[in-house]
Symmetry: C2
Subunit: 416 residues, 2 copies
């Protein structure tokens, strides 16, 4: 029997992540121009400097009458300042002009008429035909949104590395930027290995005993959601040469490569072995102290980081969550949101192995004041339904020797 | 002066949301078939029933030797059961057969050979040439993942209304579902009104005094992110007839309509007025007790819910967050994640009006043990940079009469 089980040394989860982050910090993602309207969630590749003032002109901040403030600086109820109304200024209506002793009816957002430098609010005025009586003193620029008040021309509006939010899109357009330079999305290639696997689109998927590849579509969905540009590498058979060729092809196109399966097949470590002997390639670790998730490997293939996920979907998911997700977040600049957590009481004892991080799937049930966490019975990490049926995850640290019945645990809710 | 300011009655924010949710509960989104691989985040329109067992056959859960358990039920170190090895069973390698007294070398994931009903783990065996000695008793189905153990044929795997997560995609493929029936994405039309506005792609956007529409692209980005199918209604001039025509056209294509601007223009309520007099249309409320955000309206236009957002970007954003976002979440079945919150001390007094919900943009700074929240000075809700520059939002309830300097407030972080 080639090698019935086991890895020479299991790497601690935290250490594995550190190694992956360090190696991936060398990944250089490119820069591309995208339309500002489509830049949500993208990371700026350059500082954004305003080429225009916002607002682009002085405008009325309220409805009222635009006047020369010096003509109403001492206006009051008993000593009103009287103006002749010469027009109406509305948003989009073009620029008006008021001369001495004149006022323009003005509405919020309208360009301030030439000659006017303040707006007397409607409630401080009395109108009679073509005349308006201003009953309250008005200071220079009162009720005027000044040109450049929001953003000044030449101002650095966003720094390089900033990840654009929805309102930032609004800001970019308000300074009339049509396109912005952003970092390209990390290009991630995903390959499944396994002679037993078929694609869902393959006619053989209809055979009663066929095994449809379900792990790769799950990982692809997770990557797309995390903002990656996914390169689908398909399924490759359990042959070292075929695996090596497929990875080589993908290494030329992608920033990172993820293989699924082939880390412990028929006693052979096909993918780790495929990495060996290739120029610029090396295996950095193989096997992490996680349950499920142990057969995870990581290396460099032709200069590209290569994650080797186990084929079993739950193990692959744990590997993705622990190592790949935080690594992608570091590349896109968008830290993954932490899951919501609740405290619950465990309904039964769960033995765990010290030194290994355990990922326990639990179903939650309310019981009076408390929430109960029922561990889902498991026979193998192939059982994806254990995740789909679970409400949450209990992560048992390496320092624990099992959890007791009734113990209060923190449950991460499996929102998405 | 037509109507210088004011709304007949301001609707409380909570009440406005209740009204919108109630009216929108009548929206009937359709059903469509999508490829299971692309169904992440979609809401199931039907129960999903497994048409196949998972796993589709009995398979080895460990590496070892496949045998007939009855031949090793009393095996022990001192009384080993001896088998002749007749082959190797690997994942994807086709089904083998073992007869009485025979064993097959087997690897995790391989189909159980015909005749075998248990796997003796490699570490409980000693091999010598073509023979293997089993040193430990083996029960029926020991170390075998049974056919249907994960999911049974006929089982309801997901209920109608369930929103698909990444691992659910894996589950769908493992039961060999190529397509699933999901609810269509809510179709939301967005129109800007405003004679002063130009598109960023319009050559007039280069004029120093042009005002590029920035609110509509921001709202479109928010809607797309929330899982809507956005119908872009463009910009329409400040004319009641033109607005009414544009909304009518869009009402035929969309489930919901959002207008931006035209709720309080030049003293005229263009959009609310456009709703009047149209068959099947009515204004339900106009003006909410929010600052910024007051000029929000809601009604029904030709049977479709119509949200009237103010044109100023910050007001529009508040309206989106308070009313539209929770409403979209109710349609897509994906509750918007709550923002992360931190406690901070306010650096200065902020007056607020009782009965009005205030949305205060603050910048956070660490000061020793504490976090300080500095309110951003505001002159108007046109200042989108007040949101872009802010770290968080303090929501001041209707029961408050301002916040005191040094008061501890809850700050919602503006993550996205």
């Amino acid at each position: 029997m080639a090698k019935m089980k086991g890895f020479r040394k299991l790497t601690n989860v935290a250490e594995a992540l550190q190694i992956a982050l360090k190696e991936c910090s060398r990944v250089r993602v490119g820069t591309e121009m995208v339309s500002a309207e489509c830049a949500l969630g993208r990371m700026l590749a350059e500082d954004v400097i305003a080429q225009h003032d916002v607002p682009p002109y002085d405008r009325a901040a309220v409805d009222g009458y635009a006047i020369r403030s010096e003509e109403a600086f001492s206006a009051s109820q008993s000593n009103p300042a009287i103006f002749r109304i010469v027009g109406v200024a509305e948003a989009g209506g073009g620029r008006k002009r008021v001369g001495p002793g004149e006022a323009a009816e003005i509405y919020t957002g309208a360009v301030m008429p030439e000659g006017a430098d303040a707006v007397s609010m409607a409630e401080d005025c009395e109108r009679e035909g073509d005349e308006v009586r201003v009953l309250r003193a008005v200071a220079k620029y009162a009720n005027v949104s000044r040109c450049g008040e929001d953003i000044k021309k030449g101002e650095v509006v966003f720094r390089k590395g900033h990840v654009l939010k929805a309102w930032d899109i609004g800001v970019l357009l308000s300074i009339r930027m049509r396109e912005v330079a952003v970092k390209t999305r990390p290009k991630v290639a995903v390959i499944s290995t396994g002679s037993e696997l078929v694609e869902i689109s393959d006619p053989r998927a209809l055979d009663e005993t066929s095994l449809v590849d379900s792990t790769r579509p799950m990982i692809k969905a997770l990557l797309a959601k995390a903002g990656c540009d996914v390169v689908d590498g398909g399924i490759v058979h359990d042959e070292i040469e075929a695996i090596r060729d497929r990875i080589s092809n993908l290494a030329a196109q992608a920033d990172l490569i993820i293989t699924i399966g082939g880390t412990s097949v028929g006693g052979k470590d096909l993918v780790p072995d495929a990495v060996g002997g290739v120029q610029g390639s090396r295996l950095i670790f193989h096997g992490i102290a996680a349950k499920p998730g142990k057969p995870l490997g990581f290396g460099i293939f032709m200069g590209r980081p290569l994650f080797m996920l186990p084929g079993y979907p739950v193990s692959a998911l744990v590997g993705y969550e622990c190592i790949i997700k935080p690594m992608i977040a570091s590349l896109t600049g968008t830290p993954a949101k932490e899951r919501e957590k609740v405290k619950a009481r465990l309904t039964r004892r769960v033995p765990t192995t010290p030194g290994v991080r355990h990922f326990l799937r639990v179903v939650l049930e309310r019981e009076g004041e408390w929430i109960k966490a029922k561990p889902i019975a498991l026979t193998g990490s192939g059982l994806l339904s254990s995740v789909a049926k679970a409400d949450g995850l209990v992560i048992v640290g390496e320092d624990k020797e099992g959890l007791e019945e009734g113990e209060v645990v923190e449950v991460e809710l499996l929102g998405d």
